[in-house]
């Protein structure tokens, strides 16, 4: 059973449907005991970092997620959920994250070389994996895949946990990160067609 954390940040319809499509049972929950008994955890999220971090705390999930991640249970953060895995974010102020991965979240707008570049980074972009082995393992392919992104902030100084990144207007955006049992996808695997479903399936395999 995969626990999909429902902490009132965004719509979980597609994520849950995509898990069903790949044959993974999932449950929407914000109960720490359910998280503890699940085989794997997905932390979703869209919207602003500060509010989402506040919700995690107000539902009493901040410490339980950190403790459960330390036990080695597979955890996947998606989009804002991925950003929450890092140490902190500078999205409208400064907010503490779950500190499960090294790095922080900064503004795309401030870093883009061209002021004409559109923010959010929205659409299909190509992943560059840090190794051929990782690419083959996660995608089953060797010639690159595209995934669907929608975000205005991005992870920085996280080279040691980088699995794949993507180029947007001259900036390398960490797209897929991971260390031991903790993974994060900046893109939406549940909106990235069959390649996205394949990435989710690979994560689910780790939970078995």
């Amino acid at each position: 059973m995969i626990a999909l954390i429902d902490y009132e940040v965004g719509n979980l319809f597609s994520l849950q449907a995509s898990l069903k499509k790949i044959g993974a049972d999932s449950i929407l929950t914000r109960d720490p005991d359910v998280l503890r008994s699940a085989d794997g955890i997905i932390l979703p999220g869209v919207g602003a970092f500060g509010e989402a971090a506040e919700k995690l705390r107000s539902f009493g999930l901040y410490e339980p997620i950190r403790e459960i991640a330390d036990t080695g249970k597979p955890l996947l953060g998606v989009c804002l959920g991925m950003q929450m895995l890092f140490e902190k974010s500078y999205e409208y102020g400064e907010h503490e994250g779950l500190c499960l991965l090294p790095g922080y979240i900064g503004s795309l707008r401030e870093d883009l070389p061209s002021r004409d570049a559109i923010v959010p980074h929205m659409g299909w972009n190509e992943l560059s994996f840090t190794s051929k082995e990782a690419e083959k393992k996660w995608t089953g392919k060797e010639d690159g895949i595209y995934t669907y992104f929608v975000h205005s902030f991005y992870a920085k100084e996280c080279e040691e946990v980088l699995i794949a990144d993507t180029d947007y207007e001259g900036i390398r955006i960490p797209a897929f990160v991971g260390k031991d049992n903790v993974f994060g996808m900046q893109f939406h695997p549940e909106k990235s067609g069959d390649d996205g479903l394949r990435l989710l399936s690979e994560f689910i395999k780790l939970t078995k």
């Binding site: 719509n11 499509k21 869209v46 067609g193």
Partner: protein, 251 residues
């Protein structure tokens, strides 16, 4: 680099896909889930469903259709038609839509854009504009192209993005159905806007897409209906053709 998006648009009535020639003589084409799955396999980057039903019953069937599609096809889904208040956003977003396109509803009450963008985020709100030349001006039309609002294209598009629309679909009524290419002159009016622009109306063949992306490199996507429905152009072939022209696409 971001891929240029190719987007088939499906008109839905009473939960079924229809495509009429200029909205007359509508005939049933196919089951939406079958068609969406077909487009997904063919490499469509996104799907737009436009509800042309007027009745409450048809509206309900449309909403059910959105969730049926969203359970089977995992690419971004945009829905439009009959979006007049924030509760209409809620209705379709909770059934699996990712973006909601507004047109007449936003012209009638522009604050709908602000409210929806505030509640669901700019990326959820797509402003769809039906535009036609009147004299030497570009006028915005409402009610499915039946009513000239007198508003100018650039003025309305910049107001819409200022209020929080995260994307614009520009439908040229002048080139719609003519199949001689997208309306580059009209699209060019929006070149200074800082949101993705989706070109609609006029695609007759593969070359029209390469002309679009080469002439107006800032355009993010091309949308079409009949050439895809009637399999005159396969999305897979189109993507390979565009890639051979050095246009970045996902294929």
């Amino acid at each position: 680099m971001l891929a240029k998006r190719i987007i088939p648009c499906l008109d839905i009535r009473d939960g079924r896909v229809v495509k009429g020639k200029r909205f007359e003589g509508i005939r049933d084409v196919e089951d939406p889930v079958t068609m969406a799955a077909f487009y997904n396999i063919s490499g469509a980057d996104e799907l737009v469903f436009y509800d042309i039903t007027a009745s409450a019953e048809g509206r309900k069937l449309f909403t059910e259709m959105v969730s049926d599609v969203a359970k089977e096809v995992f690419i971004p889904l945009t829905v439009g038609g009959g979006i007049n208040e924030v509760s209409d956003f809620e209705r379709v977003l909770t059934h699996g839509a990712d973006k909601v396109s507004v047109n007449s509803g936003a012209l009638r009450d522009p604050s709908l854009i602000d409210e929806a963008a505030h509640r669901y985020g700019d990326q959820c709100v797509v402003l769809s504009i039906d535009c036609k030349r009147v004299g030497n001006e570009f006028h915005v039309f409402s009610k499915g192209g039946r009513e000239d609002t007198g508003r100018r294209l650039f003025e309305w598009a910049s107001e819409g993005t200022g209020r929080g629309a995260g994307e614009i679909v520009l439908n040229s009524m002048d080139t719609d159905g003519v199949r001689q290419g997208f309306d580059l002159e009209m699209l060019d009016k929006l070149s200074s806007l800082k949101v993705p622009i989706i070109a609609s109306g006029g695609a007759g063949g593969m070359k029209d897409f390469s002309v679009l992306f080469k002439q107006l490199p800032w355009v993010s996507a091309g949308l079409a209906a009949s050439i895809f429905h009637y399999k005159e152009v396969s999305i897979r072939d189109l993507k390979h053709y565009l890639r051979s022209q050095n246009i970045p696409v996902r294929c």
